[in-house]
Amino acid sequence: MTPQSTAHVASQDFDVVTAREVSRAFGRRRALNKVSFSAAAGAIVGVLGPNGAGKSTLLGVLSTLLRPTSGSVSYGGADATPAALRSRIGVLGHDLFLYPELTARENLQFFAGLYGVADAAARVAAALQTAGLDARADDLTSAYSRGMRQRVALERALIHSPRLLLLDEPFTGLDDASAAALVERLRGLRTEGRIVILATHDLDLADGLLDQALFLRDGRVLHTATHPERLRATYQGVVGR
């Protein structure tokens, strides 16, 4: 039995995400300090910085999982409930959010159900094909390589066709071919009008991909660059390590 009833129609879409003076503290440690930026539809924004700069915390706040201690995040000015907003947001975390005891198809079907995706079976089949895993769709994800799990996890984050996609270190553990394929996929998502925000250490892969770069250190935005070029040189100049 699969209940198909739906309770709430979240019609509010948004075309811009704006953070205003966002701060977040964990106890006495301030992980984010008055971070402000804006990201519009059809843009890829890179959040760059050393370990502990506040990149994952910023993604956590944007995903609605963490509440800012002060400041605010607005999603196109839409007055939506957190649940409605979450239906427009996809997250690929450093941990991949996959159940190892389930197959790739079952993982995607589960999340499609949680997000109320219409025609879930067809959407899941298409996602598996996009990930190049249709031949192994019924294998447990615990039997997959890191790269294969990463591809399933990206499709999981996209299964409900979110407007805002948040990626935390998406290139970790990928070989060169998989990383290049992911870069192409992100470019495709940009042309679909999504807002892609990714936190990464991999400056070489991010070079030429980003429409906007935020350079963070100790929770502060040190520099913002639009269509940044020579990312590594800029990073070393701004962040300094």
């Binding site: 309770a7 997250v91 959010f97 589960f110 997000y115 009008g193």
Partner: protein
């Protein structure tokens, strides 16, 4: 927004999203938990092994010449359920923590109550399955006629298990990010579920007494129902706060 961005937004105006109802979301989580457990059998096997071991230890300790002290069976049944249930509760959330899938559940556009209720139904169903095995074993080992009034027994076990699991699921969720969660869970859980244990033991005693008094059994059943109503409501009310990072 630039004209290029405006054009893109118009071209790809995303369709309205329909978020699932509370019932549909709960069912998704329960079905997923059952599938995961059917594959790994981790919680079922460890809980069953532990519960049967407990019963055997009690049997060796107190049964003399094939006779158990009067009233021992019902107490041992509930004590065993409490210990084995604590084991199951700890693993339920630990499993979600290991692959950080708990965050994925919290990121879904469903009420947080759906996550709580999904986990609660999973734990209750597992414990009820365990009770199907334990009740005949207790009858056999301690000569307690538990199966003499099966409908009453089912009612007492169901309401008692729900009360225990309602508090236990909330406690396990509260401790999911705590370093000493395995130690803290019983410390947090047992003082709160003492009324469930007392009502469960006394209610079970009432239904297996040679002279059955329906009024006494109804009193303990009503107490369990009241406990369930209070703690399920309290848990639904506080779960959002408990899960906040």
């Amino acid at each position: 927004m630039t004209s290029r961005e405006a054009r893109l937004t118009r071209q790809h105006a995303f369709e309205p999203v329909k978020t699932p109802s509370l019932g549909a979301a709960v069912w998704q989580i329960v079905r997923k938990d059952w599938t995961v457990e059917a594959r790994s059998r981790e919680i079922a096997y460890t809980t069953l092994f532990f519960a049967v071991s407990c019963l055997l230890v009690f049997a060796f300790a107190i049964v003399r010449d094939g006779r158990a002290p009067e009233g021992a069976g019902e107490g041992i049944l509930w004590a065993t359920l409490t210990f084995a249930g604590t084991l199951a509760l700890g693993r339920t959330f630990e499993r979600e923590r290991q692959a950080e899938t708990l965050r994925a559940l919290l990121l879904a556009p469903v009420p947080r109550a759906a996550v709580y209720l999904g986990k609660l139904v999973g734990v209750v169903s597992l414990l009820l399955a365990l009770e199907l095995i334990l009740a005949p074993l207790v009858t056999l080992l301690f000569a307690a006629p538990l199966l003499s009034r099966p409908i009453w027994l089912l009612a007492i076990l169901l309401t008692g298990t729900l009360g225990f699991a309602a508090v236990g699921t909330l406690s396990a969720a509260m401790l999911v990010r705590a370093r000493s969660r395995d130690v803290l869970l019983p410390v947090l859980l047992y003082p709160v579920v003492v009324p469930v244990l007392i009502a469960g033991v006394r209610g079970t005693s009432a239904i297996i007494a040679p002279e059955f008094d329906a009024a006494v059994a109804r009193f303990w059943l009503a107490l369990l129902l009241a406990f369930d109503a209070v703690f399920v409501t309290l848990a639904l009310w506080t779960f959002e706060l408990v899960m906040a990072e």
